[in-house]
């Protein structure tokens, strides 16, 4: 009897250095946003490099961008947007204490995540077959001849910079997806165990923030890498 009274006054999830559950939750959310702030600057450095090289070597970037499979890029953007919806609905299920729905939505999110990485792998393999992976076997003579046909001169060394940025940015993003899948595996396990309740589901919320952030990075990578120049040649 006295045990349950104490439990009411002091939820087991509440750590002793917080005044109440709301303060604890706000602190966790704040910490996650601080981390996402550092992530913005982490990706920001690569976006700055992209911006500068794109201005210098626009023709190489435009022709390189044309050679990437736009269908795979568009489908992958949609896959990530679908996964963001299931995350948002999952957080909602946690808020309402619907355990089975939460577990299902977390699992569907992970299926979308794996699908994204699979499609990404197909895309990378196409680039590998075309010898567009930077390194000793890099060969962009196909892009040079496309350029010559329309009077656009390009330098293969500069094409290599576009593909270096393409692989670095999509690779770093894919790494974040892998980390996200790891986080969601843990969240799914504890959700299945019934750890998350309407009173306490902060891990679902901040795990969701991370997933949405990775989605936003992709929302920018898609136009910057795939859509530089798709206009018909004159």
């Amino acid at each position: 009897m006295s045990d349950s009274l104490i439990a009411l006054e002091h939820p087991t999830e509440l750590q002793h250095h917080f005044a109440d559950m709301e303060q604890q939750k706000n602190t966790s959310t704040f910490g996650m946003w601080l981390f996402l702030g550092t992530e913005i600057m982490f990706f920001g450095g690569m976006f700055a490099a992209y911006l500068i090289y794109r201005r210098w070597y626009y023709n190489e970037f435009a022709l390189g961008s044309r050679s990437i499979n736009i269908w795979l890029g568009t489908i992958n953007t949609m896959v990530l947007i679908c996964s963001s919806l299931t995350v948002a609905l999952g957080v909602r299920a946690a808020q309402m204490g619907k355990r089975k729905l939460l577990v299902t939505l977390l699992l569907i999110t992970m299926v979308f995540g794996v699908a994204f990485l699979g499609i990404k792998g197909v895309e990378w393999y196409q680039k590998y077959e075309e010898h567009h992976v930077p390194g000793s076997s890099f060969n962009a003579s196909d892009l040079v001849s496309v350029g010559q046909k329309y009077g656009i001169h390009i330098n293969q060394a500069h094409s290599q910079i576009y593909f270096s940025l393409y692989f670095a940015l999509t690779g770093l993003h894919a790494l974040h997806m892998v980390v996200g899948l790891g986080i969601f595996t843990v969240l799914t396990y504890f959700a299945w165990k019934g750890k998350y309740t309407p009173e306490y589901h902060t891990p679902i919320e901040i795990g969701g923030l991370y997933w949405h952030f990775v989605d936003i990075v992709w929302i920018y990578l898609f136009p910057l890498l795939y859509l530089i120049d798709r206009k018909p040649f004159h």
């Binding site: 946003w33 963001s84 949405h212 936003i216 859509l227 206009k231």
Partner: protein, 97 residues
């Protein structure tokens, strides 16, 4: 405590999802139309609008009363703009010298 937490309707989430999907198709389609330098502008405006929808609705920033969180987001964006903006000012004006 958590009782006054704002639970958004599933309908709103689905509407936002549908808008994001449509914008993805639009941005891919517009890339094939020759708008000159405005292709990049349109692509970035659409991307920013999509990102805003995700941040405000999916990430609940529109509904948070926590000013600290909003401060962190705005300062992160401010520093990003410093990085990109000042880099562009440097590299964009070198040919004037």
């Amino acid at each position: 405590m958590a009782e006054h937490e704002h639970i958004l309707s599933a309908r709103l989430y689905v509407i936002i999802w549908a808008v994001l999907m449509c914008l993805t198709v639009i941005t891919a389609g517009v890339a094939f139309i020759d708008l000159g330098p405005f292709n990049t502008v349109v692509a970035l405006v659409i991307a920013t609008f999509k990102a805003l929808l995700v941040v405000l609705i999916f990430m609940h920033v529109k509904y948070t009363s926590d000013r600290l969180t909003k401060t962190v987001i705005l300062s992160a964006l401010f520093w990003l703009m410093l990085l990109l903006g000042l880099s562009l000012m440097d590299y964009g004006t070198r040919h004037f010298v």
